[in-house]
Amino acid sequence: MPAVSKGDGMRGLAVFISDIRNCKSKEAEIKRINKELANIRSKFKGDKALDGYSKKKYVCKLLFIFLLGHDIDFGHMEAVNLLSSNRYTEKQIGYLFISVLVNSNSELIRLINNAIKNDLASRNPTFMGLALHCIANVGSREMAEAFAGEIPKILVAGDTMDSVKQSAALCLLRLYRASPDLVPMGDWTSRVVHLLNDQHLGVVTAATSLITTLAQKNPEEFKTSVSLAVSRLSRIVTSASTDLQDYTYYFVPAPWLSVKLLRLLQCYPPPEDPAVRGRLTECLETILNKAQEPPKSKKVQHSNAKNAVLFEAISLIIHHDSEPNLLVRACNQLGQFLQHRETNLRYLALESMCTLASSEFSHEAVKTHIDTVINALKTERDVSVRQRAVDLLYAMCDRSNAQQIVAEMLSYLETADYSIREEIVLKVAILAEKYAVDYTWYVDTILNLIRIAGDYVSEEVWYRVIQIVINRDDVQGYAAKTVFEALQAPACHENLVKVGGYILGEFGNLIAGDPRSSPLIQFDLLHSKFHLCSVPTRALLLSTYIKFVNLFPEVKTTIQDVLRSDSQLKNADVELQQRAVEYLRLSSVASTDILATVLEEMPPFPERESSILAKLKKKKGPSTVTDLEEAKRERSVDVNGAPEPAPASASAASTPSPSADLLGLGAAPPAPTGPPPSAGGLLVDVFSDSASAVAPLAPGSEDNFARFVCKNNGVLFENQLLQIGLKSEFRQNLGRMFIFYGNKTSTQFLNFTPTLICADDLQANLNLQTKPVDPTVDGGAQVQQVVNIECVSDFTEAPVLNIQFRYGGTFQNVSVKLPITLNKFFQPTEMASQDFFQRWKQLSNPQQEVQSIFKAKHPMDTEITKAKLLLGRSSDLGQHSLKKLILTLQTLWALASSTPKPPRLDACCVWSRICKLRCTGSRCAQARTLFPRGYVTYCRSSFNPMQAVGLCVLFPCVSATLGDHTAHSTMEHLSTCTSSLGPGRGWDTKGLLTGTTAGLPVQGGPGSMKSRQPVVQSTN
C-alpha cells in the first residue's frame, strides 16, 4: 500500500489531536478545547476571508470536538460553504460534518439541499457519491421531500455508474424507511427488481436490500423478485469458490449477497411455480450439504461466513415450514452445532432451534436434543447462552417431557443468574400449569418454586396457583395439606405464607379432621408467622382468620381475642386496623347464617388468559409466546373442565350496535377519570418519538384540560404571548375541533408551527387530520386551525399539541394536552332492565372495577348536588362507580334484610371498604363472595321496600364521586333527596345509561319514593 495522503495535510488538526491526547486531566482537556473553540470562532468571524483549506481544517477540528462529546453550536455555515467547493477533500469534510451534526434549522437545510442538488446534477460520480452518502446518513424528512423523486431516476438510468447505483439504492432505502409516504412507487419499481440480474455483484447486493424492504410493504408489486432471487442464489451457491473473484470471502462465494437473497425470499411463501420451487429446494439442500463438507480454511472467517448463509437458509426453511425433510435436516445440523466448540455457534443453534420447535414437522426432532440442552444449562459458562438454553427447553416442552424439563429448570433456578431468575420462575409456572395432568404435581411445583426463589415469584404466579386450586375441586384437599406441611418449616418465604393463608382460609376444613392439623393448630401455625410479615400479608391473614371464624366456630373466641388486641384494633396501619374492626364486628353481630353467606367459599374464577402468560409476554415481546392460543385452549379445558364462557358480545347481540361498544368495555377506564399517570407516560412517549424536542406540558394546562372534559368550548391555554382557544363538536365517532391561536403581542410570530402529537398507542385509536397553518401570525391577529377527529377505538391518553414559533428572535416552545377524551364519543343508549342485567353479569374482570377515596374539596351543598344529579351530565361517573354502587346496595340489602336491627354504621363501613383491593388476585372475587350474583336479580324482583335504601346509597356515592362529600356522611340529607329525585333522570352518565329504570334497581315514580321515606328512617 502506497503511503497515500493519510491525514491529507491537516497538520493543525494532528497537532490539536495530540494536544488533547496529552492532556492529563478532564479539566485540562476542556481548557484546551475552549481555547481552540475561541480560536476557531475568531477565525470564522474575522474580516479576512478564509481559504478553503483553513475552513476545512477548522470544520474538521469542530467535528473532532463534537465527537469527543462536546456541544458545537457554530460552524454549520462554514461547513455548508465547503459543500460548494470544487476541491474534493473540502467537499468531503463538509459533507461529513453535515452528516454527523444534522440540524433541522430550515434555512441551513435549504442550503444543504441546494448543494446536494448541484452535486447530483454534476454527473461527476465521486461528487454524486458524496451527495448520496449525505442523504443516506441524514435521511431526514426534508431531504426525502427534496430528493425522493430524483433518486429512483438515478438508480434506474442506463448510464449511471455502478458505484452510484449502489449508493442510490441504499439512499432510497434509507429515505423509504424514514418517510415511506414520500417515496412514490412507479415505473422504476419493475426496473429495480431487474437489478437482481445485474452483472455487478455490488449493485445486486445493494439492490437486494432495497427490494427486500420494499417487498415487505408491497409484496404484490415485487413478486417477480422471487424467481430472480432464486436463480441468482442458485448461481452463487453452485459457483466454484474462485468464480466470484473479489466477492468471494474466505472461500465462501458472496456470503453477504446470499444472506440478503435468503432474507428477501423470507418475505414470501414458498414459490408456487414448481420449477422455481425445485430450484430453491436444490439451493437449500446444497447449502445444507456444504455444511457437512470439510472446511476449505481453518480461519474463523470462513466458517462464520459459511454458517451465516447456513443459518439464514435454515430461517427460510423454518419460514416456509412446508418441507419436512428440510426441517429435519436443519434440526440435525443445529443439533451438531449444539456441541460445537465455538460458543457463538452453540448460542445460535439454541436460538434457531427455538423457532424450529414450534413447527409440527420438526418438534419431535428438536425434542431428541433434550439432554444436550439440559447439559448446556448446567455447563455453559456464558449466561447469555444458558438463557438461550432455558428458552429452548421452554419451547420444546410438551406433555411428554414437562416433568423432566420443569424439574431441570427448578434445579437450575437454585444457581441461576439473578438477572434471569424471574423469567425462569414465570416459565416454570406456565409449564407446570399448562402440562399438568396431575394437579398435585402442579401444587408441588409451585410450592417448590416459592421455596427456591420466593423473591422472584411475582404476584401473578401465586394468584394463579390460588385461582387454579379454587377452580379445581380435586386438588383442594391436597393443596391444603401440602401448604400446611410447607408452613411447618421454621423459615418460610412470605409468598408461601400468603398462599398458605389463603388456601387454609378456604379449604382448611378439608384437613381439620386430622388431629395433627386441627383448627387451632392451623390457626396457631399461621399466626406464628403473622408478626414477621409485611402489611399486605397480614391483611390477608386477617381475612383468613375471619374465614376461620366461619369454618371453625370452636376457634371463634381465640380469633376474636386476636382481633381485639391493641396491636390489631389500634394498629397504625389503617388497612389492618379497619379490617380488624370490621371483622371483629362482623364476627360478633352476624348470625351464623350471615357469616356463612358472607364468608362463603370463593366461587370459581372466570377463565381468562393466564396473568402469568401475559406478564411473560410483556417481558419478552410477542415472538416468544407463539403457543399462546394453544395454551389458552388447553387451560380452559383443563382447569375449568368446561369451555370458556360465551363472549360478551354474543348475548348482547340484540341491542343496537353503538351500545355494544359502550358497555362492551375494553379494559380501558373512561378517559376523564384517568388520573395523571397517563400524562407521565405520554410525556415519555413524546420525547422518545419525535426528533425535535417538544416542550414539557405547560404548567396549569392540566387544570384547563380537566375543565374541557365536560365542555367543548373555551380557552385552553394562555400566557403573555399566546392564547389558544377551542371550539369543538362531536357526533358519534367523529369530531371537529377549531383551534384558535391568538397572538397577544404586537410583534409577528415567525415559523409558527403547531404540531399534533399522538403517542404510539394512541395513533391507532385516534385519527387526527389537520392542515398546517400560516407560519406567520401578525401581532394581535388570530389564526384558526381545523382538526378533524375520528375515534377508531377506545383510548386513554390525550394527544398533545405542540406549538413552536419565533417571537422577536427567541424560540418559543409550548405543549398542551388537547382535550380529546373518550367521553366525547359516548352515546346514550336505552335498554330493557333484562338486557342490562345480562351485561352487568359479564362485568367481572378485576380491571373493570376501580375505587378511589379522596378528601372532599368542598363542603356538601345539597342543592348543588341535587342539581348535579338531576342534570346528570357528569361524566365523572363511569361504569365503575355504577358497579360499586350496586355492590353497596347489595351489602345494605343483605345486612338490612337479615338482621333484625339493621346495623347501619356497619353497613356504611362495609360499604366504604367493600370494593377495595383485598387479598386475592381478583378484586371483585371477594366482593362477589359477599354478594353472589343472584342477589342482584333477587333485589330487582323484591326491591320495592328497598328503593329508598338504594337511594341512600346512591346519594353519598354520587356525591363522593363528585367530590362534594366523603363516604361516611350521615343520611340526614337523604330524605330531601329521595323526595325530589325523579325517576329516569338521576343517573345518566352521558350515555352509559339513560334513565334509572334502565339499569338501577330503583324503580317507581316520585310518589312511591315519598311513600317509602319512612323505610329510610326506620333503617336509621
Binding site: G7, T126, L132, W256, Q301, T343, R381
Partner: protein, 163 residues
C-alpha cells in the same frame, strides 16, 4: 440487514468512532454508548459475541485494543454481522497498512469515509475490498495541496516507516 449503529471503543472505554443509522437524540446516543461500553467491557474473552440488549441484538468483537460493536435487529443475521466487522477491519488495515488505534484517532475522518463506502444506511453497499479501496484511493488522488505530515515523528514515533 439493518444495522442500527456501530461503535468503536477502546479497552479503556473511550469512544473512537460512532455511526448511527437511526435518528436518535444526542442524549440518547450518549446513554446507549455508556450502557453498551460498560456491558461489553464487562464480558469475559471466551464468551459469545452476541447478546440481547433492549429489543436489539448486539454483535461485538475485539481487535487488539479496540472493540467493534454493532447493533442489529431481531431477524438479522449475527454471523454475517461479525464478518461485516471483520471486513471493515480488513479495509482499515489495508488502507492504513497495519492499522492501529492511533490511525483511527488521528484520521477519524478517513475511518468514516471508508465506512461510508462499505456500509450505507446500515446496509452493506459494497463487499469487494478492491472496489471500496478503489473508491477511497480515487478520492485521495483527487486532492490537491497534499502536505506531508512531518509531525508524525513528533507524535511519538508510534507509526514508523510510512513515508
Amino acid at each position: 440487514m439493518a444495522m442500527q449503529f456501530m461503535l468503536l471503543f477502546s479497552r479503556q472505554g473511550k469512544l473512537r468512532l460512532q455511526k448511527w443509522y437511526v435518528p436518535l437524540s444526542d442524549k440518547e446516543k450518549k446513554k446507549i454508548t455508556r450502557e453498551l461500553v460498560q456491558t461489553v467491557l464487562a464480558r469475559k474473552p471466551k464468551m459469545c459475541s452476541f447478546l440481547e440488549w433492549r429489543d436489539l441484538k448486539i454483535v461485538y468483537k475485539r481487535y487488539a485494543s479496540l472493540y467493534f460493536c454493532c447493533a442489529i435487529e431481531d431477524q438479522d443475521n449475527e454471523l454475517i454481522t461479525l464478518e461485516i466487522i471483520h471486513r471493515y477491519v480488513e479495509l482499515l488495515d489495508k488502507y492504513f497498512g497495519s492499522v492501529c488505534e492511533l490511525d483511527i484517532i488521528f484520521n477519524f475522518e478517513k475511518a468514516y469515509f471508508i465506512l461510508d463506502e462499505f456500509l450505507l444506511g446500515g446496509e452493506v453497499q459494497e463487499t469487494s475490498k478492491k472496489n471500496v479501496l478503489k473508491a477511497i484511493e480515487q478520492a485521495d488522488l483527487l486532492q490537491e495541496n497534499r502536505i506531508r505530515i512531518t509531525a508524525r515523528v513528533s507524535m511519538g514515533g508510534l507509526r514508523k516507516n510510512l513515508y
